[in-house]
Every structure is written in C-alpha cells, then in structure tokens.
Amino acid sequence: MKGNARAFASALFLIGLGLMLVTLFEALPFGGAPMQVGQAIAGRALEDTGATNIVSAVLLAYRGLDTLGEVAILFVAATAAGLVLGGAGRAEAQGTPAGFILRAAAALLFPFLLVLGAYIVIHGHLTPGGGFQGGAILAAAFFVPLLAHPASPVNHGVATVVEAFAGAVFVVIGLAGLVGGGAFLVPLLGAGTPGDLFSAGSLPLLYLAIGLKVGSELAGLMARIAAAGDPARQGGKA
C-alpha cells in the first residue's frame, strides 16, 4: 500500500472510531459515576486504614496488590531493559561534559530534590503525593547530576541493593498478614490518629518502600538508556 493511501485509509478509520467513541461516551452519565465501590470506600477508608488521602488508601490498602504489581512492572521493565541493553555504565566513559549552568544547577538542585522527594513519599498517606510521585522526584534528583556529568560512572551496586530490599519489604509486609492468619497485605500496626505523620499503620512503610524502589529503578532505567546511546558506556556489549 502506498504511504498516502494508507494515511488516508487510516484517517477514515480513525474518524469512524472517533465518532463511535463519542457516541459511546455520550451515553455515559458524566459527573454521575456509579461509584458502586467508590462510595463505600470513601465512607470507610478512614476507619479501615487511618489514611486521610483516600487515593492512597485505595492504592495501598484496598488495591494494594495492584500497587505491588505496578512496582513489579517497573522492576520487570528495568530488568528487561537491563537484559536488552546489557550491563551499562561500567566502562570508562568519556561523554561530552555539560555546560556550566547545568553543572552548577545540578549541584544546587540535588539536595532540594532529595528533600522534596522524601517529603512527598512520607506524607503520601496524608496529602496528595506518595511513593510513585516522590520516587520519581528522587530519581530525578539522582539523574540530574548524571546529566551534568555524563562521564561520571553510575554505581548500580547501591541502586541494586536499595531496589532489592525496598521491593522485598513490600512483599514481606504483605506476607506478614499471612503469618497472622489473615490475608495478604492486611493493614498492620493500627490506624493511629488521622492526620498524624505516624498514622495509617503500615501504609507509610509501604510508601517508603515504593518510593525507594521507584526512585532507584527509574534512575537506573534512565541511566541505562542514556548510556546505551553512548557506545563507550555499554560495558563491552556490542
């Protein structure tokens, strides 16, 4: 098929699809979500978990398994990317150094990003934010210096340890419920006083684990992809 003809046909099909989707969405009552489950959760989340951020309660308690899966997906993706790209970052690198502004700003930003990320992680059960958002910021904190100093070797060792233990902690907290004869991921340690930093039982712990895991994995992923574009950094893998 010629490129133009394909584009034209695709456009026609897309218009058709669009019209059908619009028809479907029209039939949905916007703003009147059925909330079969959502209503119940909104009503009892505080008693169940002690988290004031109900989204966090859903994420870590009601749908904690999804979150574990989500962490696992990042881990799978990182492992698979590692497998595909080979052990990057070991070789003596010689990338082009970044400009002064980036280097200065990176040094300046690093502690702030670190603090911000940590804050967002540990307050995830109280305010908007949480392990993923905070973890992403933490990853950025470590990635910005790398941008500033492309030649600096990445130490995957520490990241691996953090990654491994953070992930394991999540599963172990979940399995702790089984030991007590309950279900997987049962909330532990009591709900506490709503609004306090040390409340919501094991939720902050889970968020911490997620934050560290996501942070280290994203940082590792970005470092690998960045290194992959640079043949000198591919650790002997051609």
């Binding site: 059925p34 009892r44 009601y62 999804d66 881990f75 492992t79 698979a80 497998l83 080979g86 049962v186």
Partner: protein, 487 residues
C-alpha cells in the same frame, strides 16, 4: 504447614519476593540465584498442588487481599482451573528453565516475574488487577523475546511490544468503560450487574476492546501478527513457554470474561468469528511456511483459534472443549519446539534427519498425530468434545466453524506429514547428521510420555475435566463464593 485460603496469594507473592532479591543474590553467585529461582518455581507448583484438595472441596478458595471483602478489595479466586494453570505454568517454566548462560540472573528474574504475573493472571478476581498482572506477564515476555540478543530478536520484540501495548490500551479503555458503566471492578460483583449494566453497545464495545487487548497474548486474530516473528527470533525455551503456557493464561482470562460478564450471544459470536479466522489463517500460513519454527508458530495460532471457538460455545460443553484443547496444546506445542530447536532453518534441509535421530522423529510423528486429532490420542478427544459442543449448540456460525476446522485439519496433516516425509527421506551424502543429545530431547520426551499417559487414562481425565469445566462455567457459583453475603 496447613494451608488456608489466604495462601492462594503465595504463587504470586513468593516469586515476586525472590525476584526482587534475585539481582542481589546474583551478584554473589549466578548459580545460587538460578538454584533459588528454580526452587521457588518448584515451591509454587507444590503450593498450588497442596491447595488443590481444598479447592476441590469447596469449589474454590477465595482470599480478599488486605481483608477487604469482595467488591471493595481485590480478591483471588482459586478454583481448580486456575490452580491447574498455575501448576502448568510452574512446571513449564521449570522444564524450560534457563541454563548457565550470559545474563543468567536477569533471565532468571524475568522467568520468576513471568511466573508471578501468570499466576496472578489466572488467580485474580478483579478486572483491573488482571490487567496489571497481564502487563507484568507481557513486559516479562518482551524482555525474554529479545533475550537471544540478535537484531531479529530486538526487532520482533519491539514490534510485539508496540502491538501488545496498543492492545493493552484498548483493554484499559474497555475496563474503563466497564467501570464507568458499572462502578465496580470485581468480577463476581460485575457478573451480578452484567445483566443490567453491561448489555447493549456499551458492554459489547468493552468486550471487543478487552478481547483485542487480552487477545494479543492469547494469539487471537488479528492481534497475533507478532507470533511468527517472536517465536522464530526468541530462544526456543522462551518460545516453548510462550506458546505452550502463557497464551493459555490469557485465554483463561477471556474465558472468565465470557462466563461472568458477557454471556451475550453477540459477544460469543464475535469470539467465534475471530477464532474461526484464526484457525483458517494459522493453518494456511503454516502450510505455506518453509521453516519449522514458523510452522509451529502458525500452528499455535490455529490451536488458540480452536480454543476461542470452543469458549464461544455457551454452556459447560464449550468450556470443557476449550480446556481440553488448551491442555492438549500445552503438552504438544512445547515438545514441538524442543524439536524445532535443533531442526532449525529450512524444512527442506532436514532430509534424512529422522534416520539419524529416530527417537526425535518418532516423537514428531506422535505429536503430529495427536495435534491432527487421530484417535486414541488426546488431541482427538479434545477435538471431539469441541465438535460435539458446537453441533449440540447448533447455529449456522458454529456449523461453519466446524466445517472450517475439519478442512483445516487436512491442511494441518498436509504440512506436518510433509515434514515427516522429509525427515524419513534419504539424506544427501556428505552432510553432517543432525543429532540430539538426550539432554536436549529430554523435555520433549517427557511431554511425549505425558501425552501417552493421558491417552491411557483418558477416561478418568475426562471425568475430572468435565467436573472442572462445569464448575468454571457456573457464573452463579463464582458470584456466591466471592460474595458470600449476596449483594
């Protein structure tokens, strides 16, 4: 240790835990990591087997994650069907475990994650949770698909990833539609709401989107175009597991969707159509194929099409047929790929290979006869169940599907026995003979032995499957077990 219903999470949690820790262990010793991973896989199989009696007593084991009962939290639902596929997955992963090779720990980690994802896929009773586990499985297979470290492997894996991600986006849209319409994601809850909320264009659209999404892994037409490329370019171990087990897991998800959510004849008709096209397309393309890997890949597409046809027949007869076809294919196709590993490349180049390795050629004949459906091999009974279900259900669509499958069987025999003829031909002089070592052939021989054992014990096996299918096809029982209080 006595196992309770809550232990059904172990097939997911245990491999995840070990997988998270595996890179650390791998830094110490690759061998230790491999051992640990394989022990974990074995443990999962054992746990699933230990859970089996309890599951058969009460019909199923139900565990609500975090102790949040059914519609609010995520539940795991382990009936015999799900446990059987967990065992099959674990055994398959053990049988085709990675050997000592480059990046062993990473491959082994992905292997464990595949186990966790696959187990979760069949055990989970929550629509979105299923999607999450589906993605774990999918991403692990993208990585494994590229693990041959060849250009073709990367390319095939990337094209697979793009297609699969496109499908996943569709599936997510479908799930979103379901949630927007029904406000819940729990399958049991949805099955009770399906009658009023999931009928009409909304429900059907959601179904079509989800089938296109989950169908990628289930090798359904038209989202199966990745199959020949990946199966040819990936290491054979990976291909054997993908074709043998993982595809079935996705099919089980589609079965759950059909049984619990979409008993609409229109939805069934859609799946029937895709399945029938898959059968015809797969067999014809396999007929055209000149390479053993590709032939088996296409044949796999056809077999999955057969399953889709079976599942699209309402009632437990169709489910029984589908499970029978699935189990048969689960045994046969990996064994085929064991053979294809050594017999690489052009089929025409295999002339006389059967005379140098008679055991392998004999295995090939046995597997071929079974997959074609020659009595008394299990493949015949599976096809018979399928045809009986289709005929008893009646309808022009089902009858046409039967006719297509019958015709496709001849094509199937044509290409498989063309290979047999070549295998037993006279080899041109001066070519080094293709021989198998016993170690290479062992998984295939084991599966062949399983096939023969199944032939001998087809009667009790059939009774067990019938009970399992009747239970799996019972939406009301599912709902009442997950939501004991009623809703």
């Amino acid at each position: 240790m006595t196992l309770t219903a809550h232990h059904v999470v172990l097939p997911v949690a245990l491999p995840l835990l070990v997988a998270f820790l595996l890179p650390l262990v791998g830094r110490l010793s690759d061998g230790l990591a491999r051992l640990l991973a394989q022990l974990t896989t074995l443990a999962v199989a054992v746990i699933a087997l230990l859970l089996w009696p309890a599951a058969s007593d009460g019909g199923a084991l139900v565990s609500a994650m975090g102790g949040f009962a059914a519609p609010i939290g995520i539940v795991f639902y382990a009936d015999k069907l799900a446990l059987m596929f967990v065992v099959a997955l674990a055994v398959g992963l053990l049988l085709f475990r990675p050997r000592r090779e480059h990046d062993s720990t990473k491959v082994q980690t992905l292997w464990l994650l595949l186990l966790a994802g696959g187990s979760g896929l069949v055990l989970s009773g929550d629509l979105f949770n299923i999607f999450v586990f589906y993605e774990i499985t999918a991403v692990a297979t993208y990585g494994l698909g590229a693990s041959a470290h060849t250009g073709a492997g990367y390319g095939a894996s990337l094209r697979y990833l793009l297609l699969s991600a496109l499908g996943s986006a569709f599936a997510l849209l479908g799930i979103a539609l379901v949630y927007a319409a029904a406000g819940t994601l729990n399958l049991a809850d949805l099955s009770q709401l399906a009658g009023e909320r999931l009928t009409g264009p909304m429900g059907l659209t959601a179904f079509v989107l989800m089938v296109l999404g989950f169908g990628v892994k289930a090798e359904l037409f038209p989202v199966n175009t990745w199959v020949p490329e990946v199966y040819t370019a990936a290491p054979t171990r990976v291909t054997a597991v993908l074709a043998g087990v993982v595809s079935k897991l996705a099919m089980v998800v589609i079965l759950r969707l059909l049984v619990l959510l979409f008993q609409d004849p229109a939805a069934l008709g859609f799946l029937l159509l895709l399945g029938a096209i898959g059968v015809a397309a797969g067999e014809l393309a396999a007929f055209r194929s000149r390479d053993l890997h590709r032939t088996f890949a296409y044949s796999s597409i056809a077999q999955l099409g057969l399953m889709a046809v079976a599942f699209s027949i309402p009632g437990h007869a169709g489910v029984l047929a589908g499970i029978a076809v699935a189990l048969h294919h689960l045994v046969v196709k990996p064994a085929f790929f064991v053979l294809a590993d050594r017999w690489r490349g052009e089929i025409a180049g295999l002339t006389g290979a059967g005379r140098t390795s008679p055991l392998a050629a004999g295995l090939f004949v046995l597997l071929s006869l079974s997959i074609i459906g020659i009595p008394p091999l299990p493949g015949f009974w599976a096809k018979l169940m399928l045809f009986k279900a289709a005929i008893d259900a009646g309808g022009a669509g089902n009858l046409t599907a039967v006719a297509i499958i019958l015709a496709a069987t001849v094509i199937e025999a044509a290409y498989l026995f063309r290979v047999v003829g070549i295998l037993y031909g006279t080899a041109p002089a001066g070519r080094p003979p293709l021989r198998f070592t016993l170690g290479e052939l062992a998984p295939g021989l084991l599966l062949g032995a399983v096939l023969i054992a199944a032939t001998v014990s087809v009667a009790p096996l059939g009774d067990g499957l019938t009970a399992m299918a009747a239970d799996s096809a019972d939406a009301a029982a599912y709902a009442s077990r997950v939501l004991p209080g009623g809703n």
